[in-house]
């Protein structure tokens, strides 16, 4: 009997911990839980969807994206809370064979360093997102952990800095069938990548309706580029696989390198509390072997929070 109890004790303890955690995170457990909802519709135009380094291989496309999210914030104490929730997203391209649907979950911890509206807020977040494409070869799971500190500076400015690590784990589908023999030593799934990113962001509140968010980030690690086969591109690549969606002779190259990203937005608050947002952004990426590409985008989005 004692043995049976001993045998089951760790399981019972684990189950108890899990049940306690579920109860603690349950939105109905107490007044300390707030719910947030967000719906957004985004239309954007990209001048290099496939991130090609070759001018002739650049694909331009417009994108329609719809995103819905529901998140909870549970207050743990005077300055501490946890956030958790899920989101659904669909993205369709006018001129690129990568329509997708995504479902994501996130869990975060937040601590305000002091009392008052202008005190810094430290946060740690983990998120996991499953992406499903119309081309199943691109299906993948993303995982990201990030640490960030944010705070307002006076009435007009908010600023934040964050450090994040990201993994992109594609489904185990052989993407290397038919690759030339000369590429067999780097033949593997090029979409299997990880990177680390540092980002700063700010927002300027100009009036009762307008604000201007901007961000700048630097990432280091694996970068991918899509293009037709060219020996010069494969020399520096760490991995290469077929780009099934784009067709024969199209490949995805993975390099080690870095990328700068910048965005500038204008946000107009609407009378119902939603906002209309206009943005431009640019990515400049460079492999360690000096393969370069860039991508520019324009976007307009409607975001409703409640």
């Amino acid at each position: 009997m004692t043995d049976i109890i001993r045998k089951h004790q760790p399981t019972n303890v684990k189950a108890g911990v899990i049940l306690s955690l579920i109860y603690a995170l349950s939105p109905h457990s107490c007044l300390a839980v707030e719910a947030f909802n967000e719906l957004s519709v985004d239309v954007s135009y990209l001048d290099n969807v496939g991130l090609s380094s070759v001018e002739n291989d650049k694909t331009k496309s417009s994108i329609l994206e719809v995103n819905a999210a529901r998140f909870y914030r549970k207050t743990l104490g005077v300055s501490e809370s946890v956030n958790y929730g899920a989101n659904l997203r669909t993205r369709s391209y006018s001129n690129y064979p990568c329509n997708q649907a995504s479902v994501g979950i996130a869990l975060g911890y937040r601590k305000k360093l002091g009392l008052g509206f202008d005190k810094p807020i430290f946060s740690a977040t983990w998120s996991g997102t499953r992406h499903v494409y119309n081309v199943s070869a691109r299906n993948r799971l993303d995982s990201e952990v990030s640490l960030s500190v944010s705070r307002p500076f006076g009435e007009h400015w908010d600023a934040s800095i964050s450090l994040s690590k990201r993994w992109e784990i594609p489904d185990r589908i052989n993407q290397t069938v038919g690759l030339p023999d000369s590429l067999q030593d780097i033949a593997s799934n090029a979409l299997d990548k990880e990177s680390i990113q540092v980002a700063i962001a700010t927002e300027y509140y100009a009036s009762s309706t307008w604000s201007f968010p901007a961000s700048l980030s630097f990432s280091n690690g694996d970068i991918t580029s899509g293009a037709r086969y060219r020996p010069a591109l494969s020399n520096d690549a760490r991995a290469i696989s077929n780009d099934v969606g784009m067709g024969n002779n199209w490949y995805i190259y993975r390099y080690e390198g870095s990328a700068w990203s910048a965005s500038l937005n204008a946000s107009r608050l609407l009378s119902d509390g939603s906002s209309l947002n206009f943005g431009i952004s640019r990515v400049d990426a460079r492999s360690d072997g000096n393969i370069r590409y860039d991508r520019n985008s324009l976007s307009i989005s409607w975001i409703k929070n409640w």
Partner: protein
């Protein structure tokens, strides 16, 4: 000796009578001589200025009774209601939380510093605002929540309505310091005025622009970053 006593007695009576008479006359005079003040407030663009606090403080200070010793500042839909209050020193303000979530009301103002950590419902004890001055309130959970309490030591005060109008009646004639305060004013307004039968003033108060509340997110997902 008796005559001397009678004389002294008569003098005392006369003085007493005179004092009573003057008191009656004075009181009648005070009752009769009460005026009103009417102000119309706009910003520099001519737009009616709502939620401006107008006070008249007598230059010749005299003790004033506390007219209303209780006030309420609610928390509804993650905002303070009202966002601007004016109370006499000594007023006890309660802060009921009418949301079904927790709030954490605080003030760092020198006039009144206090902290009501994480609560639902109505705190058992109201907060007494006993010193004149400005108190800024916040919520430590919802950083966009802001409210102001102007604590005064005069019974003659009012907050401008949506037309920017203020009407204060029953003010004894005399010399007063008129002060106008608004959350977005560029400079406080202060002037010495004489109150008589019907004092009126059209006043332009230069204000800073109203800024967009941090409550309204501009970025996708930014609300959910913990």
């Amino acid at each position: 000796m008796t005559n001397l006593f009678n004389l002294a007695s008569m003098t005392f009576v006369s003085a007493k009578t005179l004092f009573l008479l003057s008191a009656i006359v004075g009181s009648t005079n005070t009752l009769a001589q009460r005026g009103s003040a009417s102000l119309s407030l706009t910003d520099q663009k001519g737009v009616a200025l709502t939620d401006a606090v107008v006070t008249f403080s007598a230059v010749a200070k005299h003790p004033t009774e506390l007219q209303e010793n209780k006030a309420v500042i609610d928390q509804i839909n993650k905002e303070f209601e009202p966002q601007v209050s004016v109370v006499q020193a000594g007023t006890a303000i309660s802060f009921p939380n009418n949301d079904n979530i927790l709030h954490h009301v605080y003030s760092f103002s020198k006039t009144k510093s206090f902290d009501l950590p994480l609560y639902a419902g109505t705190p058992s004890e109201p907060v007494v605002f006993d010193t004149p001055g400005l108190v800024t309130l916040g919520c430590n959970i919802h950083d966009w929540m802001r409210a102001y309490v102007v604590v005064v030591d005069t019974p003659f005060y009012e907050i401008s309505n949506h037309n920017g109008s203020v009407e204060i009646s029953d003010i004894p004639y005399g010399e007063y310091v008129l002060e106008v305060w608004h959350p977005r004013q560029r400079q406080p307004f202060k002037d010495t005025v004489n109150i008589d039968e019907g004092y009126s003033l059209n006043l332009e108060i230069a204000t800073k622009p109203q800024l967009r509340s941090r409550r309204h997110s501009s970025g996708k997902g930014s609300r959910y970053k913990p």
